[in-house]
């Protein structure tokens, strides 16, 4: 027998970026505990649709915790209560019968709401455009094994490179800073020989873009690291700060 629970949802509804929004309460009486959080929303949406109401808009795609498309604030936490778990991988057995769950979009100046739980994260793309790459063109590469990289460095670079760009770190930060996101990209390249030639410029440009895109500053709250579904370490921020200072000094 599958177990079901009964829930009260308080969901942020907002028709468009310009419209004002409000919380709307829904009763969902029989939620299968084996369903994922998004499947629970699917079921509710199907009911709303057949009643002629607009379903709740939310972003998602892979539903495997890797594309970074899903994400909202569930009971005050980006992606919800389970550690290192995206909202699409969160399952209803994490909740109790009778619970009330609040669901609202990420809130940050740099991530404006488009509708309901959907926000605009294009600022992240613009941050990457300002330096989150190695300037190599197709066809210019030497043999792959000509570049030796110690395993420890490769593994650390991989840990940083795992960021899925979901923006939970921004939503968790009291200042809506994107430091964890930017530092993950900066660290990924800083740890590899391929990233060295552009290392100084990269960190300066990406941080300047972050400011321009109206993300906040870091005041070492470290909420970002706790919220990150991929467990990206806040030590990347320290690494980036060191890089930033030395790059600034060398340039001045």
């Amino acid at each position: 027998m599958t177990k079901t629970i009964s829930l009260t949802l308080k969901v942020w509804r907002q028709k468009s970026g310009n419209a004002s929004g409000k919380f709307v309460t829904y009763q969902v009486p029989t939620v299968d505990v084996n369903a994922s959080f998004l499947e629970m929303l699917d079921v509710l949406n199907e009911q709303l649709l057949l009643k002629g109401e607009d379903p709740i808009a939310f972003d998602h795609d892979c539903r495997e915790g890797i594309c970074g498309m899903c994400g909202a604030v569930v009971n005050g936490q980006p992606h919800g209560p389970q550690r290192k778990t995206t909202m699409c991988q969160l399952h209803m057995r994490q909740f109790q019968d009778g619970d009330t769950i609040t669901i609202e979009p990420y809130r940050a100046r740099a991530l404006p709401v488009l509708r309901d739980l959907v926000v605009d994260r294009s600022a992240f793309d613009r941050v990457v455009q300002s330096g989150g790459y190695v300037s190599v063109k197709t066809g210019q590469a030497p043999d792959a094994n000509a570049i030796l990289i110690p395993k420890q460095d490769a593994d650390l670079a991989m840990d940083a490179a795992q960021c899925i760009g979901c923006a939970a770190c921004v939503a968790a930060c009291p200042n809506a800073s994107a430091m964890l996101f930017v530092s993950a990209k900066v660290s990924h390249f800083a740890l590899l020989p391929q990233g060295q030639p552009e290392r100084q410029n990269r960190v300066l440009e990406m941080l300047a873009t972050m400011d321009r895109e109206r993300f906040g500053n870091c005041s070492n709250e470290y909420q970002c690291g706790a919220a990150c579904p991929k467990g990206i370490s806040v030590s990347n921020i320290a690494r980036m700060n060191r890089d930033y200072l030395s790059s600034k000094m060398r340039l001045s």
Binding site: K15, S16, S36, L49, L50, C62, L114, S135
Partner: protein, 637 residues
Amino acid sequence: MTTLQSGVPSGPIDQKWTKHRFDMKLVNPANRRKYTVIVVGTGLAGASAAASLGEMGYNVLSFCFQDSSRRAHSIAAQGGINAAKNYANDGDSVYRLFYDTVKGGDFRAREANVHRLSEVSVNIIDQCVAQGVPFAREYGGLLDNRSFGGAQVARTFYAKGQTGQQLLLGAYSAMMKEVAKGTVRLFTRREMMDVVVVDGRARGIVVRHLVTGEIESFAADAVVLATGGYGNVFYLSTNAKGCNVTATWRAHRKGAFFANPCFTQIHPTCIPVHGEYQSKLTLMSESLRNDGRVWVPKQSGDTRSPSNIPESERDYYLETRYKSFGNLVPRDIASRNAKMVCDEGRGVNGELAVYLDFADSIKRLGQSTIEARYGNLFEMYERITGEDPYSVPMKIYPAIHYTMGGLWVDYNLQSTIPGLHVIGEANFSDHGANRLGASALMQGLADGYFILPYTLGHYLATAPLDPVSSRHPEFEKCETLVRDRISQLLAIKGSRSVDSFHRELGLLVWDECGMSRSEAGLRRALDKIPEIRDEFWASVMVSGSGAELNQTLEKAGRVADFLEFAELMVTDALERNESCGGHFREESQTEEGEALRNDTDYCHVAAWAFSGDLSKPVLHKEALTFEEVPLSQRSYK
């Protein structure tokens, strides 16, 4: 009538591509910026193509439906990417990779294309490393390799269990670099609704802006589709939710032939279906079969918990039936056998599931070794099912995973519409009737980085291309049709949800055109699909308007196209009365129940033309010849 010209160059197999590259016309670097190229899709294929074309100096317009191009479905690939580097010194070579791929595809791919793919595979790894892709390394600092199904050498490069993510982020960052330079312009949250053909050539697209609902036209000198596969026609699959057939189907309706639509791949190890509300299936990597043993109870109706079923009452059916390959038989065989034992009523608790048991490996190697090898997968399994696979065997069942079929393309990756090129999973590709693990990533990047940039240049240099603007009457005509279709969907205001139709269609094609196909079943499906389609257009419910972010409307458009496409897929499966690779026709099997190919009648690519009548597509055949790898029956006994 169009005749299919594959355009494969003459000469020895290992010199065809080199010769062809020399023979193709070039566009002068100073002239390239005068050409506009549309690339739809930002997965491995689309992102690598857009970045490379931008670097060459073309004016590139890039489209995807996600909010960022980094989120394309390629991001989800886990296992790895093949390349004939022979770093493992175990006898690999371009020729061996070519040979394995032709054989693995059960002799239904074009030899010349596969050889080219193997040739450029080595450049892909170089390119990705130079971009900073953090592939796994050995302690000496050199790249590490693992082995994968269907090969006897270790040629698979990987980045933990997130190879697709890292490769895609590499291609994405290369593209962002071009965006910064202004050669590539990004159009995210756009759904391609149609291709615009002017004077017989693809000259642009019409898209819907998914936030504002605006219908927009974009004109270009050539259009590239890199829009991925159509696995979601089955509703439940391992694909991302947004994967669709819309772009390729709309192109098909405009004249692009659809090749081998019935060639679909089923992956044997996925987490089983557990409820009506289920929205997708999750893959458990193929690598698990290295240490896990597959079994079911010998007796049907045995509902004891697995720990209470003694060894003597378990059936390790793959190990018994396939002595030499055991649990590591290719995907199609492992999948079909799981279905067989479940159809006999011997699935776990009579359900559609078999055990994948790690108890022996844990006893032999210790839990910590298993954890080091598969920790992240075990964690994901537990998160989804709530069961701990270290103490209770995993339950798995096959699921749709990949589609080998796609738009027909010639050696230059051009479809039957001049100027419309198709790359990645969206084309009918180099995998024949079955794709080997770790070869889709290779093909996507081969197409985008190293093949299309040459062949597209040749097209631009040789085609007569008069200037066309997006105010050309063809665009206006197309926009009107797109708007009308949207209005029609919104006007139905029926009583059934879009998902309910998608589920109904998916279940039907899974039952009749999934792991095992019979004439009677395929005919049943052909009767039923038009009925579901009619019912959809009579009673689907789409709320809201077209002038806003409307996810129900997006889904409805995609499901409407799946409902048309499914009929072609089933027709193709019925037409091909042989078993090959992932296509198993019950009428065509050996005495032991293995797939039986029929090379006399079916050694061809089936390329379908749209006739205007959905139930009467027109079949064209491209004959396949095998000069290098002699035709033979696969055996894994």
